[in-house]
C-alpha cells in the first residue's frame, strides 16, 4: 500500500500528502481497525508521517441465486433473500474489494516539474 502511494506521489507531483482514502470491502479479509493500526505504526516517522488514513467500509452486496434480486445481507454467512428466502447460491457483487480510492495532497501545478520529479525519482519497485 505504501509503495502504491509513493508511486502515485511521484506520478502526480504531490508535495505533501494530507489524507489517503482506502475502501475496504466486508469480505476483503482485511480488518479496518488493523489497517488503521498498521498505518499508525508505519507512519510514525518518515516521508508519510502525519498522513491521515481514512478507511471506508464497503458493504457486502449480492444478487439472489434463485430470483436474481440484488440485496445487502445483514449477515455475512446466513443470507436469506428478502423476496424468495433462498439462502444458497447468491452471486457476490460487492464487498471483496480493497483499494486505494483517492489521495489528498498539495500538488505542484507546473507540469514540467511534476514530470521532472517523476523522471528523477528512483524506481520504487512493484
Amino acid at each position: 500500500m505504501l509503495d502504491i502511494i509513493r508511486e502515485e506521489r511521484v506520478k502526480h507531483g504531490m508535495k505533501r500528502i494530507m489524507r489517503v482514502r482506502v475502501v475496504n470491502g466486508a469480505l476483503s479479509g482485511a480488518v479496518s481497525d488493523a489497517l488503521s493500526f498498521g498505518w499508525e505504526c508505519l507512519t510514525q516517522e518518515g516521508d508519510l508521517q502525519g498522513v491521515v488514513l481514512e478507511v471506508v467500509d464497503a458493504p457486502l452486496t449480492v444478487t439472489c441465486g434463485s430470483c436474481g434480486l440484488p440485496f445487502t445481507p445483514e449477515d455475512k454467512h446466513y443470507m436469506p433473500c428478502p423476496a424468495c428466502e433462498e439462502i444458497l447460491g447468491h452471486d457476490i457483487t460487492g464487498g471483496k474489494e480493497l483499494y486505494i480510492d483517492e489521495i489528498e495532497a498539495d500538488i505542484d501545478d507546473t507540469p514540467e516539474s511534476g514530470e521532472a520529479a517523476a523522471a528523477a525519482a528512483p524506481h520504487t519497485g512493484d
Binding site: E8, L27, G29, Y78, L98, Y99, D101, E104, D106
Partner: protein, 219 residues
C-alpha cells in the same frame, strides 16, 4: 486545502499482476496448477504422498512446499520420487506469487502435467493471495470441527474442491460430514466435496477422478 486525486488501485495489485503472468505461463505449458490450503495438520502432505505415489505412472507431477521453517515436507514428498522444492516463508503466513516464480525457476517444468502448491498451514491468509493456480483445493480434517467453513468462509468460497480428511476418525469425534458440506455449499454451491482417509487410502478414487478431469480440461 490540497487537491484530491482519484487513484483506485488494488492494494494487492503487485501480487495480482504476478499471478496473472503465472496463469499465462501454466496455460502455455498446459500445466494444471493446484493450490492446496488447510490448517496445519489437516493432511495436505499426507494427501500429496498418497496422490504422488498412486498416480506416479499416470502423470508427471511436482510440488512446491510452503512452510515457515524446515524442509521436512519437501523431503517427505521427494521420497515418493516426485520433484519437490521447499519455500520457507521465515514467519510469513502464506505464499505469494513472487515465491512461486522463484520456485518454478528451480523445478524442471518441462512436460509437467500437474504442479501442486502446498500452501502454509493457515485457513485465513493463503486464500487472499492468488498464485496463478487453476483451482484452489481446501482440506478440512474431521478433528477440526464441522463449523470451519462457516468460521473461515473465504477459503471455502474460493475453492473448487473440499476434501474432508481423516474420516477413519469419525467414530471418535463430533463431526458431521453433512453439516460441514452444507456449510461449504452455503458459501459455494458448486464446490466438489470428497470425504477421504489418507492414512488408509479411503475415498481417494473420487479425488483422483477429479484430478484426471481437471488435467484433461487443461490440455
Amino acid at each position: 486545502m490540497g487537491k484530491t486525486v482519484t487513484i483506485v488501485r488494488n492494494v494487492l495489485e503487485a501480487n495480482e499482476r504476478r499471478a496473472g503472468k503465472l496463469t499465462e505461463y501454466f496455460a502455455a505449458g498446459k500445466i494444471l496448477c493446484l493450490n492446496l490450503m488447510s490448517s496445519p495438520g489437516a493432511g495436505k502432505t499426507s494427501l500429496l504422498e498418497r496422490t504422488l505415489t498412486d498416480l506416479k505412472g499416470e502423470f508427471k507431477m511436482a510440488v512446491i512446499e510452503g512452510d515457515l521453517q524446515t524442509d521436512n515436507d519437501a523431503r517427505r514428498v521427494a521420497a515418493t520420487g516426485a520433484q519437490a522444492v521447499q519455500v520457507n516463508t521465515e514467519g510469513g503466513c502464506h505464499l505469494d506469487s513472487s515465491m512461486i516464480e522463484d520456485a518454478i525457476g528451480v523445478l524442471d517444468m518441462k512436460d509437467l502435467d500437474i504442479l501442486f502448491i502446498e500452501n502454509v498451514g493457515n485457513l485465513v491468509c493463503p486464500a487472499e493471495f492468488n498464485l496463478g493456480e487453476d483451482h484452489k483445493v481446501s482440506i478440512l480434517s474431521v478433528t477440526e470441527g464441522d463449523d470451519k467453513p462457516e468460521k473461515y468462509p473465504l477459503m471455502f468460497h474460493l475453492s473448487s474442491v473440499m476434501l474432508l480428511n481423516k474420516t477413519d476418525l469419525l467414530p471418535y469425534v463430533d463431526f458431521s460430514l453433512e453439516a460441514a458440506s452444507a456449510h461449504a455449499r452455503k458459501l459455494n454451491k458448486d464446490i466438489e466435496i470428497f470425504p477421504v482417509a489418507c492414512r488408509k487410502g479411503d475415498g481417494l478414487d473420487a479425488w483422483y477422478d477429479w484430478l484426471r478431469k481437471a488435467r484433461a480440461a487443461k490440455k
